[in-house]
């Protein structure tokens, strides 16, 4: 126990202090009530997001402000990495991989649009992150690749070259980067799971708990979206789910898959795991967009419930680091949602329903 206290005393106190400084619900309400995007952005003056005010004032470009938020989030991970033990550093590094994978997925989508569909990408490519996160990924070389072979060449020296290379035939045949994205996601979760396995027992238990929930959230999301939107067969859909760490498998998965209604699927998958689920599902609307928003809300609440449990438990574990990352991601996501909603002039009520 003494070991875990000295391992986490500093970082636990530091992160709890940071959590206490996160944007308060009252501040979020003020942001939502702001009459315009410009005024909402000005409210951020004096908060940890003040850099956004500068960028938006100079450029008037919300997407660039979002890119700044992403850079800020990455720098938080790097900062925390310096304050934790070696094995926890490996987990944080694996978590950083998420940003690299997401950025690569965005780049590949643009490459596909430009190289294979001959579409214009200049306007959107400026919003890609061009700093190296873990591997030396040359975004501009990828975007300028004329053929799939050039694409693989531009990824040489990174762990992504073999993954992408394996998916090229399917991509050419089906004219989609869908499987490429799934393969990258699988790579990320495998790496993360391998890093977690090196943790001491108490940390391992907490990390398993939280990542299992996160993986389940991903899987539930995929299960509902892929079944309803793409009409995949059970076998095909099972291939796209993340297997490591997931509790959604076997009879539970097939029972959920056999349901027609998204609400029914959710209640089967989360039965007994999320308090207040029935009340939330009672608000399910008939239109698909409304259903997806509610599903996202339910899944986010499921993850937040785990975070709250971890924060209320024994403090000297990796849980505090993971809880902080999840809360910070949630905070940034909330901010992005509000600012975009203000940009599109959505009403207060609609913004609140999306948070």
């Amino acid at each position: 126990m003494a070991g875990s206290v000295s391992r986490y005393a500093f970082i636990n106190a530091k992160l709890r202090a940071r959590i206490s400084k996160m944007l308060e619900p009252e501040f979020i309400s003020t942001l939502i009530r702001s009459p315009s995007l410009n005024e909402a952005i000005q409210q951020l003056q004096g908060t940890p997001f003040a850099a956004l005010v500068d960028i938006y004032t100079k450029t008037g470009d919300l997407k660039l402000a979002e890119l700044e938020l992403l850079k800020k989030e990455i720098s938080l991970y790097r900062d925390i990495k310096n304050h934790v033990a070696d094995d926890v550093q490996q987990v944080v590094t694996a978590m950083l991989l998420r940003f690299e994978v997401e950025n690569l997925k965005n780049t590949l989508r643009l490459w596909f649009e430009s190289a294979l569909r001959q579409g214009p990408i200049i306007d959107t490519s400026v919003y890609l992150l061009r700093q190296n996160i873990l591997n030396d990924i040359k975004i501009d070389s990828i975007l300028s690749a004329k053929t799939p072979e050039d694409l693989i060449d531009s990824l040489k020296g990174t762990p992504y070259a073999p993954i992408i290379s394996l998916q090229i035939p399917w991509m050419l045949e089906n004219k989609s980067v869908f499987r490429m994205e799934i393969a990258l996601d699988h790579y990320f979760y495998d790496e993360l799971w391998n890093a977690i396995e090196k943790l001491p027992p108490r940390d391992l238990d907490i990390a398993h708990r939280i990542f299992s929930v996160e993986i389940d959230v991903q899987n539930i999301n995929r299960l509902i979206r892929f079944k309803n939107s793409y009409d995949f067969s059970f076998e095909e859909l099972s291939r796209y789910l993340i297997t490591k760490g997931s509790k959604i498998k076997g009879p539970l998965l097939s029972k959920a898959f056999s349901q027609k209604d998204a609400g029914e699927m959710l209640s089967i998958l989360l039965e007994g795991s999320l308090s207040g689920l029935k009340t939330m599902l009672g608000q399910m609307s008939d239109n698909q967009a409304g259903q997806l928003t509610l599903i996202e809300k339910v899944l986010s609440e499921y993850l937040m419930q785990q975070v709250r449990q971890i924060l209320a438990g024994y403090p000297f574990t990796i849980g505090i680091v993971m809880a902080y990352f999840i809360l910070k991601r949630n905070e940034i996501q909330t901010l992005i949602t509000i600012l975009n909603a203000k940009y599109y002039g959505l009403s207060e009520e609609r913004i609140r329903s999306r948070l």
Binding site: A2, V5, S6, A9, F10, I11, N12, A13, K14, R16, A17, R18, S20, K21, N82
Partner: protein
Amino acid sequence: MSHPKEKFKKRVGLSLIITVLVLLFIGVINGPALLAQTHETTEKAALGTNEAEVAKFALMAAAAAFGLGAIGAGLAIGNVGAAAMGAIGEKPEIAGQALIFIALAEGLVVFGFITALMILGNIPQ
């Protein structure tokens, strides 16, 4: 540029070596005088065997009470201090509250010190 952890380790190692050297230096300066005094005292003293035994164990107990108290306080302050620094770094306004917790840990060595004094006060003369 070397890693901050390595730098920290080097600095701790260096302070340890300097401390040992200073202690050795003090020992060399004061050692002969103390030794002469001990010889003198042994010649003069005519304590009974029982009293000498009690005194021996009492001195050991006093040393243990103070020493272990100090080690305990050191360990506690190490952890509490690290946590306090982490929190103060993010929220300087809680420095006052954080110092209270450091003082609580510091209290351990005071208990040890008082216990040692009480033991020393009861040694038969």
